[in-house]
């Protein structure tokens, strides 16, 4: 059921079928290198999140630049990463169904696998599976450091879980999972600095509680593209789980940097290429890219190189655009057959809709990589 790839290596970009997920390799490689260099300079381990790219060919490049492995959120993603050659995969999420835990343990026969928990029953299930498959699983305890999603409260609540992990055959205690998702898109530098200061205090309280109980905490793992400079400077985090820096999206580009200017440390490298399929009136332009090819959960895409066009609505198979302020003589016209680049509002679920990433350099298709970890996440 693999879909047709929209391109072949060697094609001119004009020949690429639409909608297509385009990765501009120069910008992408610059982003890859910048984060690798920053982590190295700061002395933190880089374990990029693969939940955004879902593509082992990208994980490979992150690892070649020094990453210790990748994170992911689902067992199906971990499998795809290992099948694609990744040797060290951390599922930074609670896996509770027993068949999934079995798959995770079986996968650990072929790669270093770690995961996290926030309840004692899962520790029993993980231990039973690890024993059964003759493997060791490193298990972290997830602490709710401000995201308001999964995880135990900061401080002492992590201690009994860490103790249970330590006592469980087949498991070793790896540290704490401490990602604060809700801080990533706070718009100003100071807001994010303040949020991550509180986050880091919660980590420190947890590390201290563990220490008091005689449990060394090897890893404090977290951070995202919006906040990583703050985790880096915190003195308590030692592993970064950044993901979006490789692509950037409209949501992250709305942040402001330390200098008060729009956050542009990383360049937009990911786009959905589409075709204008109808220009029924002077001011209305319809593309062939809708919500089956781009995600609108974090807002509408922007139209690159065509700032006067605004995406008003995404239907399932149509993008409806208008000229801002109506069609004016100063605007360029849009014609049926024109090709436009959408900058996705949110990269992760957009990538999830595509099976192929079309890598381009200048005007040529240089890569067509399979997105093998895509899917609903079984």
């Amino acid at each position: 059921m693999t879909t047709r790839p929209p391109a072949e290596v060697g094609m001119s970009i004009e020949q690429v079928d639409t909608p297509a997920l385009i990765l501009e390799l120069d910008a992408f490689e610059k982003n890859l290198k910048r984060m690798a260099d920053e982590a190295k300079a700061a002395g933190l381990t880089l374990r990029p999140h693969s939940k955004n790219h879902k593509c082992p060919m990208i994980a490979r490049q992150q690892i070649q630049l020094g990453a210790v492995g990748v994170c992911c959120q689902k067992v199906s993603e971990a499998e795809a990463m290992v099948y694609g050659g990744v040797q060290d995969v951390y599922v930074s999420n609670e896996i509770v169904a027993k068949p999934k835990i079995e798959r995770l343990a079986a996968l650990a026969r072929h790669a270093r696998i770690s995961t996290c928990v926030d309840n004692p029953d899962s520790i029993k299930d993980l231990s039973a599976a690890a024993k059964s498959y003759g493997v060791n699983l490193k298990v972290l305890v997830e602490v709710d450091v401000g995201g308001g999603r999964c995880g135990v409260a900061p401080g002492e609540a992590a201690v009994p879980l860490a103790q249970a992990i330590q006592k469980s055959p087949g498991l070793s205690f790896g540290g704490i999972q401490a990602y604060n998702g809700s801080a990533q898109l706070l718009r100003t530098w100071d807001e994010r600095a303040k949020a991550i200061k509180e986050t880091a205090d919660k980590c420190r309280a947890t590390v201290d509680a563990l220490k008091k109980a005689g449990i060394p905490c090897e890893l404090v793992s977290g951070a995202g593209t919006g906040t990583y400079p703050h985790e880096m400077a915190s003195g308590v985090y030692n592993e970064l789980q950044v993901g979006s820096y490789i692509f950037m999206d409209v949501a992250y580009a709305k942040n402001f940097g330390k200098d008060g200017k729009p956050f542009r440390d990383f360049d937009h490298s990911l786009f959905v290429l589409c075709t204008v399929m109808s220009v029924p009136t002077d001011d209305r332009v319809i593309s062939d890219c809708g919500t089956k090819a781009i995600s609108v959960d974090s807002g509408m895409p922007l139209v690159r190189d065509f700032p006067e066009l605004e995406v008003l609505k995404m239907a399932d198979e149509h993008g409806r655009m208008v000229f801002k302020g109506g069609q004016k003589a100063s605007n360029r016209k849009a014609s049926v057959g024109d090709r436009l680049y959408y900058i996705p509002g949110h990269c992760d679920p957009t990538v999830n809709m595509h099976e192929w990433i079309v890598g381009t350099r200048k005007d040529r298709v240089e890569a067509v990589w399979p997105v093998t970890a895509r899917g609903p996440g079984n």
Copy 2:
């Protein structure tokens, strides 16, 4: 790159992996039959839209109950339908890229293929491709009857396009495409009746203009699940393109019927089955289904059988729920491992995220159908 099917035929539903797209076959079959019976009684042709199910096994059942074929929106969908045995496919959308037009013409060697246009250049391209592959394509003219998307203005604007189609080798003029998407979710019966009265007037003006130019208009094709009784009664439509009736979703269920009561002519048959993966506090419940398994473009899903749980936010891989009004003694508790059924806000883009539809009857998996027409729509 096909994803693992989350179930096997014969399994108990308790064994189905999550997230999974579940189709309750009793409700689904009841929906199928009701629409087929209504169209038959009214004497209209039924050509259901396959853009929602994307599954030839469902198209087959619609055709067995009397549908003349299906509609779809993309060439890739048309190919999947023909590969799955459908003999008559109408692409109710403008196809403008020449390679896609070639694929459409080539497909017409194996099935009856029709499509629509709203500009003269596409007619030339369609004719050239039809000649080149030795096929005939039926071409409709899309009229903007209120949707504000593609299509020429109602009335005389359709005439020159119809004439151009008539004169083009390899093409035959099929009628008008007249779908008013913006009327489907007007909440009251009277609002929808009024909107479709205006829509039908626009169709009539177009049919009359064609007649005056000596062009018979074979088909007036349109309607959706929200409005079809009004198109049926209009006296001008003769083909129905309804799609969502087979599944229903939260968006359609917010409509009110003729009796002023919530629209329940069709039952919810489609769900995303998920697992509770964390209950970190008394009032917060996290599932393993996020925006990579369910679409939120038309709002959050509802939790079936658990009305006190409200979905607050869908992250990429997590559904965050709270107990409405806080956790109360009167509420049932939710526990890690519990399985919940989400009713999707919008079925079409939700189905697009899954490769398998798991058909269940009572407690047993009876079908695991491939969603072969899914994808970004190349």
